[in-house]
Symmetry: C2
Subunit: 212 residues, 2 copies
């Protein structure tokens, strides 16, 4: 299964949630694909990895399909998240409404600058890096976000791994190495911009790029 | 061509740049694939959309392949970027070293809060939203980043489109509608986290997920 399938599940789920709000109970697979901008064959293939959804000629029940997808994504309960780095990015993330809406609760913010300890980053008190292990265990934190400068990122990742975290989202423009049982996802903001520079440079070619 | 190909080109380019720095002149397609965590068949397919690179039995010349990829991505020159929103996220982005490194130059920051006009966000003076059209034209800005709260995002997108911008990166958790000739890319930070919650929920299944 391609990793992109998982991101597309999130997109289907957002669309289905919108449909539910609009009071639309059932939707054909073509229409759901259309609304998400993903091609119908791709969508059916994505869903087929997880079982049989929908009925031929009837389509999908929006709330049922969304419930199933949320369960697949592990979103049938909340996740506690720690942010490392109480700078601008950490502050932006701790106040990012989209996280809470999707049941990711920022439960701790850490910073290695001890002058920041005890201050508030959004509604969360900043803890020092010495406290990572204790706070992670006490709060039941399972996901960490690295929002520190590139040169500090590797040290931070090591601390998070040592504290037993198995899932890390890294915003620092640095290549991190983590043990095999830890899932590391890198958000490289310049890659997003490179998609746009590609588009501006190859406007004619773009007509053939699928949404994915 | 799948849109994910373009993101993978960015990943190949970063890896090739590292190899160049390390003084490695040529690399086999298997080794390049290995270092990027992308499967070799996928990598060859991605590159094949753009021509014939490398020689059978010799591999790729790192600097030549990287130069070609950078050209495909439109990165053989700088791009001027505007950020809308001088809050925490806008400030984080304007100071994000990864952008400048990849030749995206933040040349303007806008905010609708006039009390912020004239202040500095990183090294860039904040302009008011009334000035978008003028500043975009004067500075030669081609890409805009939306870093405002969800409820302001649609209005901001309309202003950017009216100013003639054709490429927008949106960080607001809002579904924006733009004309067909405008490329909109949404960065939904909760989707990144959902990838991690999926992983934590389905650790056994994960073994079969390809890197992509």
């Amino acid at each position: 299964m391609p990793a992109a399938t998982i991101s597309r599940l999130s997109i289907y789920s957002r669309c289905l949630a919108q449909l539910e709000i609009s009071g639309i109970d059932t939707i054909s697979s073509h229409e759901l694909a259309d609304r998400t901008g993903i091609n119908p064959a791709q969508m059916r293939k994505d869903l087929s990895y997880f079982g049989q959804f929908g009925k031929r000629g009837v389509g999908y029940k929006t709330s049922e399909l969304n419930k199933n997808i949320l369960k697949i994504l592990g979103l049938d309960h909340e996740w506690k998240v720690a942010i490392v780095g109480a700078g601008n990015l950490g502050s932006a993330l701790s106040g990012y409404r989209g996280l809470k809406e999707h049941r990711f609760i920022v439960s701790a913010v850490f910073d290695s600058d001890k002058s920041k300890t005890g201050r508030y980053c959004g509604t969360v008190r900043v803890s020092s890096m010495d406290e990572v292990k204790d706070v992670v265990a006490r709060e039941g934190i399972e996901i960490a976000i690295i929002a520190v400068p590139a040169e500090a990122a590797h040290w931070v990742a090591n601390q998070l791994v040592a504290a037993g975290l198995k899932a890390i989202l890294n915003f620092a423009p640095a290549t991190l190495i983590v043990p095999e049982d830890v899932k590391l996802r890198n958000v490289d903001l310049s890659i997003e911009l490179e998609n746009l520079s590609y588009f501006l440079t190859n406007k004619d070619r773009e007509a053939t790029v699928e949404n994915a």
